[in-house]
């Protein structure tokens, strides 16, 4: 490519014992959106860190505007017009929006006094926010912004640095559909104004019609490129894993009809004015869709007892149960795989074994003391059953990839005897291969008579996995869909509050 804005040729990067990148080439022209796909560990992040100046490549060459450059550090990269919107937001939420955009480069006034020129900072920030269509005040504390808005602030920061290439690392992984849609629109507008975007995503569904070109990496090497017309889900998956996935989603089925979990008139502290009722039968996977903030997580936490309900009945196998703390639910075989696994699901600094045995450590006692051999046996068994990829159960949970971490959370509950499992966003941040494995595991649970409730904001997943879909809107269940009624539009219509399409703009 002759008119490439940024070009990487034959990049190699080795870490002790690992070849992270092997002769990887990549190019992007101005005003182009290139999506970078690949499984976790394929080298996407490493490649982006090379572009961002975090890592220095061992081999290869980087060219900007056709000229050879070397990024010795992050500042070099920024100076060449590269902006990085990180997966984990690097904002300071105790400072206001303008302060974040200009962090470290505050406009100064009053000479040697170095007083921050707030007026200029806020005016400039306002201009950027207008360009991105973000309706917040530059003086608003960042903590009052939603995740999506904070991300826009990151983009504003990149633009204020005169970035010509913006790297977005999984920007939509924690956004709702609407927010993701908005981000995509903004990205397209930026492209039309000449900014190039490197877009890393696991949500393959959003790439057709958005990306101009797709570059896939596999095991640290170039796995192929797709042009605009070639971008389809199947093609992308094939490039990422190097083969066809025969069955991504396990076959859907109907429940056995026996109601395992019944929830009646549940009131949560977040939406005390609404009562939620639903049931899940043994052997079925019920999907729970809705926008972020619709109250789905609150319902799951009330049923699991970590944030007890204000009122309402929870009935398990026909018997009403009282759940005032997580232990009440766990004792009865009702488990939650929480949304935020790094924070709520796992103790990252503990070993896999310790995490798996934590909920019912009392089963591993011999003479009142913990029997490590028993722990090892059980944790090894379940690491095997769930195909957790780790050299040992003594590895720290924090060192695993997202998919493997999620499997450890599952192993925690599989090792007990589950009757009901609630999954809250089960595959967020999990790569494609592990996703398919988790879906298979969920289906396996259902086949064994477990009632599965799956909360998900991933439309593909909701439609592909659920046997029945419940949709929540602002604390209420706004509707239910049977398999014959499945469509993205039907789910969205209910998610924004029934047939009222204006509802969409109410929350952002």
């Amino acid at each position: 490519m002759t008119n490439a804005l940024l070009e990487l040729i034959g990049i190699g990067k080795r870490f002790p014992g690992v070849v992270a990148l092997d002769k990887v080439s990549f190019a992007i022209s101005s005003g182009e959106i290139v999506a970078l796909i690949g499984e976790n560990g394929a080298g996407k992040s490493t490649l982006m860190k090379v572009i961002g100046g975090v890592y220095q490549p061992d081999d290869g060459e980087i060219r900007v505007d056709g000229k050879h450059v070397a990024f010795r550090n992050v500042s070099d990269s920024i100076a060449s017009g590269i902006g990085f919107v990180h997966q984990e937001l690097n904002n300071l939420d105790n400072i206001d929006v303008a302060g974040n955009v200009y962090l470290g480069r505050e406009p100064k006034s009053f000479g040697f006094l170095n007083i921050i020129d707030r007026g200029k900072m806020e005016r400039d920030t306002q201009a950027l926010l207008d360009r991105l269509g973000l309706n917040v005040s530059p003086s608003a504390p960042l903590s009052t912004l939603s995740i999506a808005q904070q991300q826009m602030v990151e983009i504003a920061k990149a633009l204020s640095l005169k970035a010509r290439v913006i790297i977005m690392d999984e920007p939509t992984s924690s956004l709702t559909l609407q927010e993701a849609q908005r981000l995509i629109e903004v990205s397209k507008e930026l492209r039309d104004s000449g900014v190039s975007i490197i877009y890393i995503s696991h949500r393959l569904g959003e790439l057709p019609g958005f990306a101009d070109r797709i570059v896939a990496l596999r095991d640290g090497q170039n796995a192929g490129t797709l042009t605009t017309e070639e971008i389809t889900h199947d093609n992308m998956v094939k490039l990422m894993i190097g083969r066809d996935i025969e069955q991504f989603f396990a076959e859907q089925q109907d429940g056995t009809g026996e109601k395992r979990l019944q929830v009646k008139d549940l009131q949560t502290a977040r939406y005390p004015q609404h009562k939620v009722s639903f049931d899940v039968a043994a052997g079925e996977i019920v999907g729970m869709a809705g926008l972020v903030g619709a109250g789905r997580t609150e319902v799951s936490e009330a049923v699991f007892g970590v944030r007890p309900a204000l009122s309402g009945d929870i009935i398990l196998d026909g018997t009403p149960i009282t759940v005032s703390k997580a232990d009440d639910a766990i004792k009865r075989g009702l488990y939650l795989v929480p949304e935020d696994r790094r924070h709520n699901g796992l103790i990252l600094e503990m070993t896999i074994r310790e995490n798996i045995t934590l909920p019912e450590i009392k089963r591993f006692l011999t003479g009142g003391l913990i029997n490590m051999q028993k722990e090892l046996d059980v944790s090894r068994e379940y690491c095997g059953k769930l195909a957790v990829r780790t050299p040992s159960t003594e590895a720290f949970a924090g060192n695993l990839s997202g998919g493997n971490q999620q499997k450890v959370v599952l192993a925690k509950w599989f090792a007990l005897a589950p009757k009901v499992i609630i999954f809250d966003e089960p595959t967020r941040g999990v790569d494609v291969g592990a996703k398919a494995e988790i879906y298979t595991l969920m289906r396996g649970l259902a086949k064994n008579g477990v009632a599965v409730l799956m909360i998900s904001s991933d439309m593909e997943e909701v439609l592909g996995v659920s046997d029945r879909i419940l949709v929540m809107h602002e604390g209420q269940i706004s509707g239910q869909l049977g398999r014959e009624e499945y469509s993205e539009e039907a789910v969205m219509r209910l998610a924004v509050g029934g047939g009222n399409s204006n509802g969409a703009s109410r929350r952002n």
């Binding site: 870490f15 690992v18 939650l336």
Partner: protein, 362 residues
């Protein structure tokens, strides 16, 4: 697939698999430091190894070690306890007054010593429970709760004692308690051990506080490293949310750590009271809480919680006392006492940090 991320796990995974590492790496470092200080002091002044000095050392290590274990548990839950020094004063005053001044509610005489001893330990544990409740239910920061305790208990001690020094006199009525607190376990014949207050010249013996300390350490080693409760302490200290989502009653776990901490302080407090036999309410136990915290930190506890071991804490407690001894024996101006201690802690923690950093780089 995804090989890159997994290969990196290897070093951490292999080593401890199935093997119980008695001394973790962190503890070896501080143990070597302790050994080094002992040897250096011994070379400079051979009196360090004399029976009398070692017995004195052991006595101090015992008294400080017992409550340091409790402080360590609290620190593992990512809490802290600043109140103990004042608690020692309050407890000592109450104990002395119950044993030598007050009849009520006993008509026949002063408080029987077993009742008085149990009562003051129970009172300490109760105050610890209040700390725990304030931390877990009222969501106050441990630092603030126990800082207030530090101020309140000191004030109460001075008020109750009307600022006058209390003691136990010749301690005849409660001789056994006195012996339990200050005596020495001596080997007086084949398979004969006796608990004596006045050790005859030339007879070797182990001071009672050290014996109690060893018992405490063994019990809490099992509790922390082998029991469910210990596992929960680490879990809660590292990630309270995840522990709660795993069905652990995190509030109860944290509260109980404060109860244990203050309860063990209650035991240490009795030993301190009899050791000095003159409890001045405004100075007794000043700064002692910091010895506990320092011992725990030196022993590898992280103030962020979820890290630390009993062996480490014990070695830490011992090191602090040996350092004080070093100041005495080497003829260093005793006013430099704290400065020496502070410097060694700083160097220890710094070295630990550097080692951790270089390990990460590998």
């Amino acid at each position: 697939m995804a090989q890159a991320a997994e290969i990196k796990l290897e070093p951490q995974g292999r080593k401890t698999d199935g093997v119980i590492a008695f001394f973790k790496k962190k503890e070896i470092g501080i143990f070597l430091l302790l050994a080094l200080v002992c040897i250096a002091t011994g070379i400079k002044n051979p009196n360090f190894w004399s029976v009398v000095n070692l017995q004195d050392e052991a006595r101090l290590i015992g008294m400080f070690g017992i409550f340091s274990v409790g402080v360590g548990l609290v620190i593992i839950t990512s809490g802290i306890d600043l109140s103990l020094g004042s608690l020692f004063a309050l407890e000592g005053i109450l104990l002395a007054m119950a044993l030598t001044e007050h009849h009520w509610p006993f008509s026949a005489g002063y408080w029987p010593w077993p009742v008085a001893a149990v009562a003051v330990i129970a009172l300490c544990a109760f105050l610890g429970w209040i700390h725990g409740i304030l931390v877990t239910r009222a969501n106050l920061q441990p630092f603030i709760v126990t800082l207030c305790g530090l101020l309140i208990y000191r004030g109460l001690a001075r008020f109750i004692a009307t600022d006058s020094t209390k003691g136990f006199g010749d301690a005849t009525q409660f001789g056994l308690l006195n012996r339990l607190a200050t005596g020495t376990v001596c080997h007086t014949g084949p398979f004969r051990f006796e608990l004596l207050t006045n050790v005859p010249e030339g007879m070797a013996g182990v001071p009672m506080p050290f014996v109690l300390f060893v018992i405490t350490a063994i019990i809490f080693w099992v509790v922390l490293h082998r029991s469910v409760y210990g596992r929960y302490l680490y879990a809660v200290g590292r990630n309270e949310d995840a522990a709660r989502y795993s069905g652990i009653n995190t509030k109860r776990v944290i509260t109980s750590a404060y109860v244990i901490c203050s309860g063990l302080a209650g035991v240490s407090g009795i030993l301190f009271a009899f050791y000095t036999n003159s409890i001045s309410p405004s100075t007794h136990g000043n700064f002692y809480e910091l010895f506990g915290i320092a011992a725990a930190v030196l022993g590898g506890c992280s103030l962020r919680g979820g890290e630390g071991s009993i062996i480490g804490i014990c070695i830490g407690a011992a090191l602090l006392q040996v350092l004080q001894n070093l100041v005495n024996l080497l003829g260093i101006d005793s006013s430099l006492n704290f400065a020496v201690m502070g410097t060694v802690i700083l160097l220890g923690v710094l070295a630990d940090q550097l080692v951790a950093k270089s390990k990460k780089k590998e």
